[in-house]
Amino acid sequence: MLQHFDPNKDYGTPASLSEKMVTLEIDGVEVTVPEGTSVMRAAALHDINIPKLCASDNLEAYGSCRICAVQIEGRRGTPASCTTPVDAGMKVTTQNDKLAKLRRNIMELYISDHPLDCLTCPANGDCELQDMAGAVGLREVRYGFDGENHLDSQKDHSNPYFTFDPSKCIVCSRCVRACGEVQGTFALTIDGRGFDSKVAAGQDEQFLDSECVSCGACVQACPTSTLMEKSVIDMGVPEHSVTTTCAYCGVGCSFKAEMKGDQLVRMVPAKEGDANHGHSCVKGRFAFGYATHKDRIKAPMIRDSIDQPWKEVSWEEAIGFAAKRLKDIQAQYGRESIGGITSSRCTNEETYLVQKLIRAAFGNNNTDTCARVCHSPTGYGLKQTLGESAGTQTFDSVMFSDCILVIGANPTDAHPVFGSLMRRRLREGASLIVTDPREIDLLSTPHLGDATHLPLRPGTNVAMVNALAHVVVTEGYEDKEFIASRCEGDAYAKWREFIIEERHAPENVEEITGVKAEKVREAARKFATAKNASIYYGLGVTEHSQGSTTVMGIANLALATGNMGREGVGVNPLRGQNNVQGSCDMGSFPHELPGYQHVSDAVARARFEKVWGVKLDDEPGLRIPNMFDAALSGEFRAMYVQGEDIAQSDPNTQHVEAALSALDCLIVQDIFLNETAKFAHVLLPGSTFLEKNGTFTNAERRINRVRKVMAPVAGKEDWEVTVDLANALGYPMNYSHPSEIMDEIASLTPSFANVSYDALEEHGSLQWPCNDEFPMGSPIMHTESFPIGDEGKALFAVTEFVPTTERANSRFPLLLTTGRILSQYNVGAQTRRTDNQAWHDEDILELHPHDAEERGIKTGDWLGITSRAGQTVLRARVAERMQPGVVYTTFHHPGSGANVITTNNSDWATNCPEYKVTAVQVEKVSQPSEWQKNFQDNHERQYEFLRGSASSADAVK
């Protein structure tokens, strides 16, 4: 009998990974399943559905409700089918009078304790207790309905997204297990015993005050309405769903957008999602309210100058206005006087079109993307060493790692669903090494085994990675066979000579990193001797003046230890935004056409020229910081910015603001009046991920479909706007659906050759390279060779440590480093417009008690933070997890001005800004900074301009 896996069905217990098959008989049907499968699952796979309450196929079997009892020939009693593994030759009966009676009795007990308000219960129609009562044929309740039903227990409404109604709880403990097994937070417990037992968050706290991170796994697991989305309580149970991809972080979770008509009721992580396997975080599951927020820009707007109110106009007028300005500017100031920025939040198809517009219609290569400010060093460093600008593994690969090295990343906050998976592997016994100035939450993973923290000083990653490699080589831990067969010999010899120099020994590096040499040696040994060791890194690696060097150092370390080309190993950049990988793949950078084909490559250029019908420039264009400089010099005068907020996200805000103010024409396409739009002349309404079709590519190179669930608020999907602009500029673009754009991408990008919407429909998702060589895509890369050089051998790179010039001194004695937190997303434009504000409604400066005491600072004080670039004011939090001398903040709120103080130092190879190191001084103050006061004034003025938009018809003459 064929076994189709139906993602909408709950098979009761997790799949067994065993390859050994076992044959048994269930209700007279012969079934064959992998050894270790439960009787319940084996039956469910053959459509024999045994009633269940406490079992769910994303949780280990627990065996508490007993409603799943079966009879097994030759065994006594009625064992629970969820906790009983199959045996060869077993004969199971799932249905007879005895079992039916037993199940009814159990159900009767549950129901006698349960309020019988089914008709008015929010879970009505979506309640497993109700379903099971039906399934077991419950007709009477002999014990009456006045059991211990906890009807007087208080509901907990504290979480903004779900309620906890203890009166409905059947104490199945699915929530407790989901919080532990799936999410890894262990926030819930069962308090008390027997009829008195109840679910409690933390130390019997309100959910919001407890450890709970609001991932929603417990809500999804709960078979009753005890834990219930508030949106379902308000709107009722959804009636249809569309599968799509989360538009927040680089994990790229798949979701079912569950709808009622055109209203989104809830987002449920899709079990069949290859990146998330049915799990999610608070952002993807709950923070979608921004899509219908009143601040959405609903109509195109134009104005002559940024001191004028907006004028609401038709699409035709806005596009015509923008096109005319662009053409006039080019006529006057030359072909290279305009450019644009693609977005890592938009789809691959949209990003592709924006860079095509720039290269083909603007006629220059002045295209860049926000990856410039996050992962451009990944692109550079991995291309130089491994030949491809991408991570080498799947997320699931971490489940095969024995030692996990995390450098400059904070997965439990920034990549939460992957953070949960990593925690699961850590609970299973993998060892952990964290290289980070802060004691990140991964280090406090419940049930964590062997863990080492190397708390290095900000800006010393290269020295640390070199020291680790030095130990590997000098203590004889190199994988000589791997190096000989898979790496290029000369580059290796050169690197080896460099790395064995005494100056890289942990003892000599200690002074630079501040980490004890012996600890570094132990960590290196642990990494090198693990069967499978993997490296995960984030922006704490890239956003430095030596970001690219660290990325190459990471690749060296993986190559030297032979940790490449199989499950459980590899180099894994944790990408920030949902489509950073995609926007880089799609040719957003000024020097590369889609698929990382250099603009100077005549063969590649010729292919594009043929399809695009124009001559392409063979010189790299301007990068974002160059655009700003050129704008200030008057040579660069117009910009098209799709879905990016450079005025908030880029460093040295005052410099950025001056550059944006100097432009003659700034066209911003966004869902809100973001910080950049305050400097714009044309504001084009953007569409959210819920309003369009397309694809995103996540951090594991996985191309996943984005599907439209509702109409765009202003009538156009983002790609349609770019098409209109191109046509208005006289460059014809003709697409009727994003699938046609993908077909063009596939025809021009060798690594995407076999990607199409039909293929994605068929396979769910595909990891590039996906072409004739890898027709099913490539979950793990570089298994046999590297796409580099003639021989396909990886290149070791010499990684000199050059300290940043941004140093602490007596004027700026502290080092500021910046980062992210779980509930807010990047510049916060989306999450600040949701109830996620409940967790983080302002950016705070964290500092060590020692530094606080020296300055007489207490938690809650207002602090002036001054750097060489500027000054801002934030509130203080005194925190032990900081190192003395290092302070930390986030940049989710524009008024905080965190980037007013970051400098324009940048990575030597890519100009990725050095967000992670700024020398600062902090002192107590009583009022906001000058910049903040101006910001507030301008904010109010620009919103006033927006409000007056419809009525101010004379703003544009």
């Binding site: 290569n365 002045n366 100077s600 010189e619 400089d629 010499v798 670039a869």
Partner: protein
């Protein structure tokens, strides 16, 4: 932290040279710098670099200077 665009261009080429200082002789380092700039820098950056070199006011690292000279020579040859 640098201030003018001209300063930043020179800082950047020096920075590339410094980060590749262990790649070999001055000429070998200059090769890397030259390749890097050819591959990643825009026309405008290359032009400012040539101007700064001609000005002689900014301080170049030796390998950076060598690379800048080679790039300038190529630019004037193709101009």
């Amino acid at each position: 932290m640098f201030h003018t665009e001209e300063e930043s261009i020179v800082t950047m080429i020096n920075h590339i040279a410094q980060n590749n200082v262990s790649a070999g002789s001055e000429s070998e380092v200059a090769d890397i710098v030259e390749n890097h700039i050819t591959k990643f820098w825009s026309r405008r950056m290359k032009k400012i670099l040539a101007e700064q070199l001609a000005n002689g006011t900014e301080e170049f690292e030796p390998a950076a200077k060598l690379a800048a000279e080679r790039l300038s020579a190529k630019m004037s040859a193709s101009a």
